[in-house]
Amino acid sequence: MKNCQSIYKVLLLLVLPLMLTSQQVEKSKSGIFLLKDGRVETVYEGLIDADVLIENGLIKEVAETIDHPGATIVDCKGLMIYPGMIDSGTKLGLAEIGAVSLTQDHNEIGEFTPHMQALTAVNPNSVNIPVTRVNGVTSVLAVPSGGRFPGTAALINLHGYTPEQMYAGFKGVVFNYPSTGKRGRWDRRSAEDIKKDEAKAKKKLKEFWDKAKLQAQLAAKGQTKYNPQLDALIPIVNKEAPLLIEVNQKSDILSAIAWVNENEVKAIFTGVAEGYRVADSLAKYNIPVITGPILSNPRRSSDHFDAAYSNAGKMQKAGVKVAIRTNETENVRNLPYNAGFAAAYGMGWREAFKAVTIIPAEIFGIDDKYGTIERGKVANVFVSDGDPFETKTQIKHLFIDGWKVPLESRHTLLYEEFLQRDPGVKE
C-alpha cells in the first residue's frame, strides 16, 4: 500500500509539468519524415500501398518502398494517407468570438473596399486554427465580408507564426453580386422595392466598374493617382486575376453570368445555393463554383428538404467544376462532413473528395503545389484510421508545410484535463 502511494507520488511529479502547460498547444516539429507502410489516396484512382517521404516542407517521394536512413519513421501500418483538405470559403483567422464585435476582422466599413487585405488581419494564433487542422483541414480561404466589394481573400495554410508564413499562394477580390432575395424573415420589402434596390445597386456597380476600367487604362499609361480601391480591381479588369463572385439565387446567378460575359471577367462563383436550378448555364460558360455549406437549409420553403445536400452533386454531374466550402469560422472542422453529405446525396465519394482537395487547388491555380500527394508538392498531409468523411474516423498524424503538427487543440486539452477530474464523481 505504501509502495503504491510512493509510485503514485512519483507519477504525479512526472505528470505535473505536463498539467501546468496543458492550455498550450505543443510545438510542431520540422525534419525529414518517412511515412511507412500506409495506403496513399491518389485522389484520382483510389488507394495504393506506398511510402511517402517528406523533406524541406515538400513531398520528396512517393513510392512502393522508400528507405531513408536520416528520416524519422512514422508508422502508418493499417492507416490511410490523404492530401490535406482545403476549405475554399471561411472566416477562419479573421474572427475569434462571434458575438464580440471587436474580435471580428472580416467586415470593414464601406461598400467598395476591394483593397482590404484578409491576409493582413489573419491571426496566426487564433484558438480556432488548431481546432480546425486536427480534423485534417490544412488550408482555408480566409474571406472578407460585408459590402459590394468587401476586400481581398487569401488562401492560408493552418500553420505558421506570421500571415506570410501561412500564405498559400492565392488571393482573390470578393464581389457580392446584387441580390434580389429577401434579406431575412424580417425583410418586409415589396417586390417593387426589391426591384428598385436592385436597380440602384446595379447602377452603383456600373459606375464603380467603369471607373476601374478607366483606372486600368490610365495605369497602362502610367498616369494613375493613389486610389487603392480602383487599383485593387485593375488585375480583374485586365483578366489577369479571377474575381470571387458571391451569388446564390437562381435569377441572380443568371444575371451574374450575363454580367461576367458582358465584362469579360475571369469569374469564380461562390455560394451558388441554387446552382442546381441553372447548372447547365454554369457548365456552358465554364464558370467554376465554390459551394456550401452543404449542411444548410433549403433556401425556399417550397424546396425539397435535401436541396442543399444535393446541390453540389447536381452541378458536378452537369459538368460544373465544383469545390465545397463551409463558410464557417470556428467549425471549419466540419468540412469533411459537409463533403460527406454531398457524397451521400448524389455526388459520390471521389468527386466530393476532389471538391475539398484538387478542385479548389485548380480553381485557385495552385494545383502544381497542392491538392494531391505527389512528388514536389507542398507536404500538407494527414494520416487517418479510415475514410475522413466518416464521422468517427480519427486523424493519427498531421503535416502542414512539412511540419509535423501535434494533434492538440483547446478541445483536446480540455478533454484531457476534465475527463477524470479530481475530485471526481463521489462513489
Binding site: 475569434e96 458575438a99 471580428q104 429577401k182 476534465f418 464523481v425
Partner: protein, 453 residues
Amino acid sequence: MKKIIFIASLVLCSLYTFGQAETGDILIKNGTVITITEGIKENTDVLIRNGKISQIGEGLDAGNIKTIDAKGLYVMPGIIDAHSHIAIDAVNEATNPNTAEVWVGDALNPYDINIYRALAGGVTISHAMHGSANAIGGQCETIKHRWGVMDPDELRMEGAMRTIKFALGENPMRVHGERNSIVPATRMGVEQVFRHAFEDAKAYTQQWKDYKSGKTKVPPEYNLRHETIAGILSGEIMIHCHSYRADEILMLMNVLSDYGVDKITFQHVNEGFKVAPELAEFGAYASVFSDWWAYKFEVYYSTAYNAAILTKNGVVTSINSDSRELIRHLYHEAAKAQKYGDLSDNEALRLITINPAIQLGIDKRVGSIEVGKEGDIAIFKEHPLSVYAINQYTIVDGVVRFDTNSDPNDMRIDIDPEESIPAFYEEELHKCGHNHADGCLQDVHFYNLSYRK
C-alpha cells in the same frame, strides 16, 4: 332542454375525438432493429397496432396491414430533440426577467415546413422551447411531428410532462441589464431573480392554503406567474435551463437545493464538462450541442468532448439542435460524440433517443423500441451514425409521416397564392456574419440590429 344539452354534449364529444391524433397499424419486416434499451436485433420485425408497438420478433404475421420491407435497413426509435424552436410563431416574451406565465403552447404552428424537414431526418418529437431572453422564460411544449395536421392541438404530445425555460448568463444580462438597466445585469442578479420568484411563489401558495383552510376569509388574487413557479416547487413542472458557464450552473443547483427542487435539465451547458461530478451528484441532466462553440464569449472555453465527458461521469446527456438546420441531422450530431470521446454506438444513439426522453419526462412512452411504447420509428439506409446514412421512413404513432419514396419537392400545406417574391433568405447563408447565432434570442427586438452590421 335536456335533449339539447345531450345533443350539444354529443357534438362536443365528437369534436374532442376529432382533435385526437391519428394512430396507425404497420408491420416493419426484417430490419436490423436498434432497440437502444434491449440491444440490437438482426432480421427482426416490429409490429405497431393502434399507434403502439405491440410485438417485436421474427417472422411476425399481421394480416393485411401496411408493411415496410426493412431488409438491409436500420430500424431505430424516432429521434427526440430536447431543444428546438420549430413549429412555434413566437419564441421570446422579452419584457420581464420573469415571464413564467406565458406558454409557447399558445403559439404552435402546424404549418411550419421545418416540422417536415425534421421528420426527413428521423426526428419524431421535439421540445418547442421559449427563448433565453429572460432568467425565467415561458413554459415550453413537447410536440409530436404529426406533419399534415391543421389543428395546433394535434401537435401536442398529450400528457407529456410540463416544462419551463430558465436562462443564465449573457442573454438575460444583455436583454434586461444592458438594454433596460434592470436586474439582472450580472450573474449575481440572475441568482436573485430565481430566489425572488421562488419566495413569491411560496408565499402565494401559503396564501391559498390559508384561504382554503378558512384561516383567511378573502381569496388571494389569482396570479399565473406565481402559480407556474409553484408548479416547479411541487415537482409538476421541470426546469430546462439555458446555461453555459460552470459557475452559473453550480449557482442554480445551489438555489434549487435551497427550495427542494430536484428536477432539472441544463440546456447547452457548454461548460458542463468542468462540473460533471457535481451535475452527476445532483442528478441533473445535460442537453448539449455536439460541437457549437466560440459564437459568444461564454462558450469560448468549450470542448466538443463535452457529451463524452458528461456521459462518462454518469450524467444523463442528450444532443439537441436549437436550430432548424441541425434538427435535420441529429443522427450525425450524435456520431460526433464518437469522434470526440469515443462513445460506443449505443451510448451515442442514446444521446438522441432515450436520454432526451428522460429529460422530457416521456421515457416510459418513447425513446426506445419496446413492446407497449408508442410507434415512433425512423428507418435508415446505412447505419444512422454513418455520415452516409439516409433516412427512408419516419413513423409517428404508427403513421408514416415521411417516406423517401413519395417525397415531392413542395411539401407546404399553407401556400400563399399571392406570394410574388421567392422566400429566399440570404440570412440563411450569412446568418449574422456568423453561422451559429443563438437561436434562443429570436424575437428580441435588438437582436437583428446588434448582430447584423
